[in-house]
């Protein structure tokens, strides 16, 4: 089998400014600037740091989960069930707590529920080698259904001592936002500088080559699904603390926003490409876009339409950038 790769010996190196600038993350940064300008024109009330910060706490939990989802997509898999996982874990936590279990123990039970959900996704996708996208559509409906069974459409209250995570301020910044930034830094370092991070890129780029290079792709992918399960559970309980009560419809439809954050950040849907920084910026972009539209009292319909268009444009753009740079 003679291979047909181009044989230019000395390919012209891309100039450094080109490498730094022509990246999906810069596209997201550009969109943030455009978003900020647009939103402040749309409504004078928009440009206020504390308001944007407060609005970010509403989606901070989802953004944290989107960071881990980015790593799962880079590794070549996908998971549409984290939003449902957040709801079910929060319901399990509140239900167990409501039934008299001590708070710390209830939190652990919630996290274990998330882990179990991650394990189910891992078993179906990796062990049974089923396409993870269809598996996680099944688990997304299944987890949401379980949450409905546990909580009915009652809303289970959460003890006062646990409520108000978003009221806790760290140097004037709400705690959920601080946690999001810290998670981004930690995960960015893991993905960017550790062996595991490097191997996630390698598995996503070419799983066969990874096998031949002695990389245990199965173990890493199972680990990612489990991590996503636990982090989703933690995020679900953070939301419970923010809201003071939990219903089965927590973060309903959140899966679209999480995938959107990853895509807007430049994560390549087929794996191998993407960064934590990209998703981090995309999370802020989404907040700016939706807050800008809400404070301008635009019909929610427009927000839905804009979200849909953004996702489609983002996939086409990243597809185009990667296809072009892969000469």
């Amino acid at each position: 089998m003679t291979d047909t790769t181009p044989t230019r010996e000395m390919a012209p190196a891309r100039p450094t400014w080109h490498v730094v600038l022509v990246r999906p993350e810069t596209m997201t940064l550009l969109l943030i600037i455009i978003g900020l300008v647009g939103a402040s024109i749309l409504s004078p009330f928009f440009l206020d740091a504390s308001y944007i910060m407060r609005s970010f706490t509403l989606t901070a939990e989802m953004s944290i989960v989107a960071l881990v989802l980015t790593m799962v997509i880079i590794s070549g898999e996908i998971d549409l069930s984290p939003a449902a996982n957040m709801a079910l874990s929060a319901c399990v936590f509140a239900w167990v707590q409501d039934a008299g279990v001590a708070l710390p123990l209830a939190v652990i039970v919630g996290l274990l529920a998330g882990l179990a959900m991650g394990a189910l996704n891992a078993f179906m996708s990796i062990r049974m080698q089923l396409p993870s996208i269809i598996v996680t559509i099944g688990t997304l409906i299944f987890f949401r259904g379980l949450a409905q069974i546990i909580a009915g459409d009652r809303s289970i209250r959460v003890p006062e001592s646990f409520v108000g995570i978003n009221a806790v301020m760290v140097f004037g910044v709400p705690l959920p936002v601080v946690i999001f930034v810290l998670c981004a830094i930690v995960l960015g370092l893991v993905l960017g500088t550790t062996v595991i991070g490097r191997q996630i890129y390698q598995i996503g780029t070419n799983q066969q080559a990874a096998l031949h290079a002695g990389i245990n792709a199965k173990r890493i992918k199972v680990g990612l699904f489990l991590l996503l399960g636990v982090v989703s559970a933690a995020a679900g309980m953070m939301a419970a603390s923010r809201l003071g009560s939990v219903r089965y419809d927590l973060v309903l439809g959140g899966e679209l926003q999480m995938v959107l954050m990853a895509m807007l950040g430049g994560t390549y849907i087929f794996g191998g490409r993407g960064t934590i920084l990209g998703t981090f910026l995309a999370a802020w972009l989404l907040v700016i876009v939706s807050t800008g539209m809400t404070v301008a009292n635009l019909l929610p319909a427009i927000q839905l339409t804009v979200l849909g268009i953004l996702l489609i444009v983002a996939i086409i753009a990243t597809n185009f950038i990667y296809a072009r740079t892969q000469r």
Partner: protein, 328 residues
Amino acid sequence: MNLVRNILFRREAGILVMIVLFCIAVGLYKPQFLTGQSLRIILLLTPLIMIGAMAQMLVLVGRHVDLSIGSMLGFSAMVVGLMYREFPDLWWVIGFPIAIATGAVLGIFNGLLVTIFKLPSIIVTLGTLSLYRGLTFIISDARQINRSDIPSELKLMSRTSPVFDIPWIILIAFGIALMTYVIARHTQLGRQIYALGSNPEAAPLRGIDVTKVTLVVFALSGALSGLAGILYASRWGFVNPSNTGAGFEFQVIAAVVIGGVSINGGVGTVMGTVLGVLLLGCVAAALPLLGIPGSTQNAIYGSVILIALLIDRSVRQRGAASISRGGA
């Protein structure tokens, strides 16, 4: 002795047995479940899902997924609803071609994104799911079409028809099932969809115009969603921008996957899908009778999809293992 053909056949027989057993079990506990009236209730629950399932079956056979059928249903229903409200004296039957055409246009847009930009259909339709729902809000200015705006002849179609008093809506649904059977089994288009799903790389080599077939599949999915849209207006008598068609895609995927359509493409029968829809209809009708809160329905759909995936896996494993032991 062809092993796989039996498995496929057994799969449909398996679903039929499940339906019978389920109905007998419920009937023992609640005898009224087995009356003619109860059969009518079950059949009245299935027409929209049936039409959606037919479209989704062809999409899945072509190794694609269309998540936007719920929003396409909602948008088409809204277009027709607005038309009835703004032009009350129009002949009400005009609604059907308009709904189908509207759906087809949205479907073709999906198809273009998938074929021109080579994007995975599941992510594209996840985007258009939200886009079309947003457009539904915009064109309706977020207001509902009330029962009084929907022509009574259209609503009548969900109640009776000259044929043994079976509502038109059920006749249309089974008509679409028959049409899909003819397309899938007896037209070049149908066979090429199966071929495309069975071996996408080999399809172009065998002279199959992959782009055209994919576009037609998505257009069909849109058109049938449009038809389901106007029938929604007939069945429930109103069109609401936020919940008309919401969650429709999950019910349809559950029905299609139970019906034995494989998510790896190339495998799926109309009969299996019809039985899958009927099974879900029985479950949906039985829950309230047994006093089980409706909230368990989602959990049932989810678990049904997961179990069907595992069954599909084991069938494919036994089939695939025997073909190729590659290696140079």
